[in-house]
Symmetry: C2
Subunit: 335 residues, 2 copies
């Protein structure tokens, strides 16, 4: 079988399939704009929850349950320090109240934190951070360490890698899994009007001698209406992310960097002393209902795309579902 | 002879010496932090003029007179659109008044421009730019195109390039020119307490479809007390530069990028639509009196360093002076 895409979804599918005995080739064009390469690495079904997206929450929670085992097999550590959702102005605080009320209805209570309590958790928060929530359950992972570990384990299971797209005849001869993130839209007519690229800009900062270290928690903030997140790494922070829909425009804009730096500085003033080590833009694979497409598109063609902001989180559940489709197929079900 | 350093000074010296018949080897470690690689490319003796630095102005004017021929031989175009010095707040405007008064005393009158006149020159200036000067005479050059042209012409004159430092015995056997910018301080004891690295951070922006193009003039602004310059390129702008003295710290800091973006946006708001294509830090070679050291340090050892903010500008006059020293030496004068 052929997997089109070498991001976290494609590699997870390839690994699970190869382990189950399939001959697997991954076609990877290794774009610098790949969503899982550029990503911040949050595994955040709870903090990402929002009224109307109950299916997304349920799928995220299902996948989250698989993550400890998934990470353990890969030898990739998870950051379990937890997440603080914080607000600066009154409108930002109201967004947090809405999130807290919704999570309570979904049976996942989050704890409200005063200004003082917030600082007992994270003394480096900026003075204009006024209220927050402690959100239990969400994790983070170093997405690039994860991708490296997935490639390694794929090789151990004899997965082949190529940067050459297969000829159409080959595609017809075997099963193809389309797992190319936002680029999947160009790989099958049935995805053309379903998957769309959603650009995100993201910064990588590195701490420097003498500077206050990064927070221990992942910090998700609303700053004057703009969402920004700070995901700690052993050597610094990942700060994200803007959100635009304007096709495959991979430029990092001055306005995007300006907003991210300004808002992140409001949340964690010490970053002015950090090094700005990378500015990048990546493409999330958007779908109409924010749910991924994990299904047969046609005989011999499976889609595993449309994961939007949750590609890393949903990798294990996606790989497992694709494996189920492949097994059904091997038993003569779908072709 | 051996030239230590492959920046604009080292290459210019190598070219002039090779053309005069010397066997020349350039030792180039090609640091990404080299001053002339990171630079903005202004050739600005007039706008850089300041009371007390009359020697710097005189040397700059002498070198400027050589630039048209120098650039012509290299086939590198000069940007002759001119320079606008602009101010935002009252204190910034006072700095411009001081510059104008000083230039008048030096016989180089600059024209004061009202808010309206400024916009007739550059309609894209931000609303808080309130006054300015049109400063005649300064030029700019694409510093990376210049470096490429210098390497090309050096090769045409059989200059050899290496990234290996020569053994000490070789150094003693011939003439060595120390032209390694800020790193020169570590190459001879006599430079140890004379040359110091002055870090500068600089951004490269690229215009994007639909965005207002960059200014035609080089814009040198004071924004709330902070100097920032915008040097146009055919495809965008170079924005610089911070100034720190903290050794050879090559990190690009969040605070530096934030200040440059904020101040450049104040001057030219359209940049928010541009792409941020590069953030870099380089080292200027500072000296106690802001004048370069171009002289024999010891038998067989010439220094050509300490050019501070004016390495590109002073390249032709420096190369000419080094060549004079070499000719004096060949005639038995100095060794």
């Amino acid at each position: 079988m052929t997997v089109l895409g070498g991001g976290v979804i494609g590699l997870s599918v390839a690994w699970f399939a190869a382990r189950a005995g399939f001959d697997v080739t991954v076609v990877d064009h290794a774009s610098p704009h790949g969503g899982s390469w550029v990503a911040g690495g949050m595994l955040a079904p709870i903090t990402e929850a929002w009224p109307g997206d109950e299916d997304v929450l349920a799928l995220g929670v299902e996948s989250m349950a698989l993550w400890p085992g998934f990470a353990n097999e890969l030898g990739v550590p998870l950051n379990e320090a937890g997440t603080l959702a914080v607000a600066t102005d009154t409108a930002d605080a109201e967004v947090l109240d809405q999130l807290r009320a919704y999570l309570a209805r979904m049976g996942r209570p989050a704890t409200r934190l005063t200004r003082r309590e917030l600082r007992s958790h994270e003394p480096g928060l900026g003075p204009s951070v006024r209220s927050g929530l402690s959100v239990p359950g969400d994790l983070s992972v170093d997405n690039r360490a994860l991708l490296a570990a997935l490639r390694r384990i794929c090789r151990e299971h004899n997965v082949q890698f190529t940067d050459q797209s297969p000829p159409e005849s080959t595609v017809d001869a075997t099963v193809t899994v389309i797992a190319a993130g936002a680029w999947s839209r160009d790989l099958h007519p049935a995805l053309r009007d379903v998957i769309r690229p959603i650009k995100g800009e993201i910064l990588r900062l590195t701490t420097r001698p003498g500077a206050l270290p990064p927070p221990e928690h992942t910090i998700r903030a609303h700053v004057s209406g703009r969402p920004v997140y700070l995901v700690p790494r052993p050597d610094g922070l990942v700060v994200g992310a803007t959100q635009y829909e304007a096709g495959f425009d991979g430029d990092v804009t001055v306005g995007g960097v300006r907003d991210l730096l300004r808002d992140a500085e409001t949340v964690w003033p010490a970053i002015v002393e950090y090094a700005l080590t990378e500015s990048a833009a990546g493409f999330r694979a958007g779908s109409p209902d924010n749910m991924p497409v994990i299904d047969w598109l046609a005989p011999g063609v499976i889609a595993a795309t449309g994961h939007h902001r949750s590609g890393l989180l949903l990798a294990p559940v996606t790989a497992r579902r694709v494996l189920t489709l492949l097994h059904d197929d091997r038993e003569g079900g779908n072709r």
